[in-house]
């Protein structure tokens, strides 16, 4: 093994990495039954990478949980299973079976109901089922206005509710992990990272990410101003819609019918970073769900959404 002999000055990425590892270790030490919410996207890839680093040479004492809405891109599911096998970290998958029985989906019930039942309610079911008292998420404060206000250890009531008007003060890196039975904490190790930091770190550390982030020829339809990929036969085509092959990629990943692609030529990490530096829109633009009423993320979060 190579040994570094000089303590170099920490760069911005080094500082962010150290802060995140510190947070992950605090969660492991302070909670009885923590879990890492693994959503398969780039932020989750970075979280998983940091989790492995934080507890090396031991295997991470925190399992992964994926809340599968059954509408994720097929490539995401394949990537998820491959990474779990490669890293050896325990992966649990939860699907809201009740929602499946009722046939809940984005086309039959609309984006809002689908997200609530298959994502928010499913997450709460999973947390209750396994009795997790802390759930680690990859949310960043630069993503969205209400997230910019959230603590690193964010308290949730026994009903999983967030009270943004009455958050616990959070001084230095002294995270208050004390809760009563039934209550829980959502912990956000990537709070202080920006989208650019995430991509630079993926590049520097050679972290595997889902291929959907890279530009390729994909079948898409243009719908309500967004480019929706036809990932399987469940996408009902409207009159006049014909899937066409276009060179696209995704800046964020979620349920495929709710995630807009962008036209792009960026097929390498370097090109993605370059595209980011010149882009004029924020990454959440492609999220259909965010364009509900103003500040809707805050309402969803209050109800238990990550």
């Amino acid at each position: 093994m190579s040994i570094k002999t000089e303590a170099a000055r920490l760069s911005q990425l080094d500082r962010l990495e150290a802060e995140s590892i510190h947070i992950l270790r605090e969660v492991a030490a302070e909670f009885r039954n923590p879990v890492l919410l693994y959503s398969v996207g780039k932020d989750s890839s970075v979280l998983l990478h940091l989790l492995l680093k934080a507890f090396r040479p031991a295997r991470p004492p925190i399992p992964l949980l994926h809340v599968d809405t059954t509408w994720k891109f097929r490539e995401m599911i394949a990537f998820r299973d491959r990474r779990a096998a490669e890293t050896g970290v325990e992966l649990r998958v939860h699907i809201n079976e009740e929602g499946v029985r009722q046939g809940v989906g984005p086309f039959t019930h609309g984006a809002a109901v689908h997200t609530d039942v298959m994502k928010t309610q499913a997450l709460k079911q999973a947390l209750d089922k396994y009795g997790f008292d802390a759930a680690i998420g990859g949310a960043r404060r630069d993503e969205e206005k209400s997230r910019a206000k959230e603590r690193i250890f964010s308290f949730r009531s026994a009903q999983h509710r967030w009270d943004p008007r009455n958050q616990r003060p959070e001084l230095w890196n002294l995270y208050n992990a004390r809760i009563r039975p039934g209550e829980s904490v959502r912990a956000f190790p990537l709070s202080n990272w920006t989208e650019l930091d995430v991509w630079l770190y993926v590049w520097r550390e050679k972290i595997p990410v889902v291929p959907l982030y890279f530009a390729a020829e994909r079948p898409v339809v243009e719908r309500d101003g967004a480019l929706i990929m036809v990932d399987d036969a469940r996408l009902p085509l409207r009159p006049g819609e014909t899937p066409t092959m276009r060179r696209v990629r995704f800046r964020t990943l979620g349920c495929y019918p709710l995630t807009g692609a962008i036209e792009s030529e960026a097929d390498t990490l370097e090109a993605i970073i370059e595209e980011m530096l010149t882009t004029r829109s924020s990454e959440r633009q492609g999220r259909v769900i965010d364009h509900d009423p103003t500040a809707s993320m805050e309402r969803k979060k209050q109800e238990g959404y990550f």
């Binding site: 190579s2 040994i3 570094k4 002999t5 000089e6 303590a7 760069s11 911005q12 990425l13 080094d14 500082r15 990495e17 150290a18 590892i21 510190h22 270790r25 605090e26 492991a28 030490a29 680093k53 934080a54 507890f55 040479p57 031991a58 404060r141 630069d142 969205e144 206005k145 209400s146 997230r147 910019a148 206000k149 603590r151 008007r165 616990r168 003060p169 959070e170 001084l171 230095w172 890196n173 002294l174 208050n176 004390r178 009563r180 709070s191 202080n192 920006t194 630079l200 030529e265 390498t268 370097e270 970073i273 370059e274 004029r280 829109s281 633009q285 103003t294 500040a295 805050e298 309402r299």
Partner: protein
Amino acid sequence: MTVTPERHAALAAYLRKHESRDQLRFITCGSVDDGKSTLLGRLLYDTKLLFDDQLAALARDSARHGTQGDALDFALLLDGLEAEREQGITIDVAYRYFGTDKRGFIVADCPGHEQYTRNMATGASTAELAVVLVDARKGLLTQTRRHTWICALFGIRHVVLAVNKMDLVGYDRARFEAIAAEYTALARALGIADATCIPLSALRGDNVTARSPQMPWHAGPALLEHLETVRVERGMGGTGFRLPVQWVNRPDHSFRGYAGTIAQGSIAAGAEIVALPGGRRSRIARILGPDGDLEVAAEGQAVTLTFADELDVARGDVIADAAHPPQVADQFACRLLWMGDAPLLPGRPYWLKIGTRTVGAQITEIKHKIDVNTQSELAAKRLELNEVAQCNLSLDQPIAFEPYAENRALGGFILVDRQNNATVAGGTLDFALRRASNVHWQYIDVDKAARATIKGQRPCCMWFTGLSGSGKSTIANLVERRLHALGYHTYILDGDNVRHGLNRDLGFTDEDRVENIRRVAEVAKLMVDAGLIVLVSFISPFRDERRMARALFGAGEFLEIHVDTPLAECERRDPKGLYRRARAGQISNFTGIDSPYEAPEAAEITLRTAEAEAGVLAQRLVERVLSFEPAHARPAP
């Protein structure tokens, strides 16, 4: 589009630049309406860090909630909570991220209202620099002084006074200079080393990212220029190696590592270390960094250490340079910002978290609270929300620490309420009141077990709690008579009687009630130590104090007995006529009338006097105490 080698090289160069780029964490603070959010919005806008969809959303929001007519209302960029946008105020701190070629910035926009001071403190605790705004028309306000005081408390050494809304005072130089002079004096009095004053208009962009032609008389830099160039020291000055242990890493028998973030100094393989407060020594065998083994690691790095010897080290211990270890103590002088909705009461037990250690703690004395407006010292028996004070602090076990001025990680602490788990205070340690190592327990040959054996009984504390007139003393008296008749050694500590002597100096305020219970609990502990069965008959209305009392005793030694009589019944009995007088307003702070009684949640025994005679209840208690005594301990009469 494939990346050509030239473009790849350019990107690699960019990454290196980003990597080596410095980062500054700062806050904006000051009174409400002084324009903090507007200033930050202006900074983000002028540095072209807003995306098109964010600008479109801002234009939409400005039309709906804005206060700037047809112009963009930058405050709406940061006030992200619905309640904030509706009320036009900032409730909680918002973090934003931006950068220029020279530096990356994390900025925390802090609320100005006094009621949200704890959220401002959240932002200030991690900041290296503070931008304090004032309105040029109003000058320094109470919140300006309060926020500056909190900046000083948290050791922020660089402060920028941004005198905003200069456009509304006609860019008047004399006005700016008067405010600057007053603020410079305040900063000096609080020990802030670097205070820079800049006149600006956030709304119009004067002196924000570029020097303003409106104020040619201002020789200093524009705000952004100053933020890009100000030199900020990382550490607090201390140099000895310190690492609070977060996590003991034991994957198998061959590896035992201690994971944590280096709080100060640097460490090399082979260095001699000491684990505190235990004091065991060893040498560093390996240092595992995020990317494998390191020979050297320094402040800020998250590492895992292994030692040459097997040491008993746990989470919360501090690994330190053996030649220059920190002090170990359990009593301190500290400064405190109270953030709880309920007041701080001296003597009440709280949890204290410092570094990675959590211990029991109490504030033993409020030396004085501080009027942030005048810096004057005021006597106080309690602290209310947002008050600041100089206090004495006592812990239930010693910790390794350093004064906050020398090391943030080993000198900054929070207090947590034991009932609702709220974070109720942030504090900084100034110095130890005595070194724990100097305090010895006198070793005594005859111990509690020996004293109990000679009496043929198992000592315990029966703690009767309940409203005045509930029947505590009546039942305690019956219990003692029976135990005495059976040959047991007992003693009753009665609330009224103790107030005639030991606690003669105490009244009935919440503070005095806490102290009243503390003293009695300590006396009861001494009596149990002496081998007695002690019956404590005190209203003891607060859960926290009963919990404190319980914590003094060993397992099974403390029996909480809730004498549960409805208030109406107590008031009907009114054996001392106290309820009548309290209802007439002749007695204040009377439990059940204008002072709360917190019923036990998990008492060992609950006695409902409305359902059984006192004699029957007393007999039940006697049987409980005797059954709980081991049978062989009782000699034949």
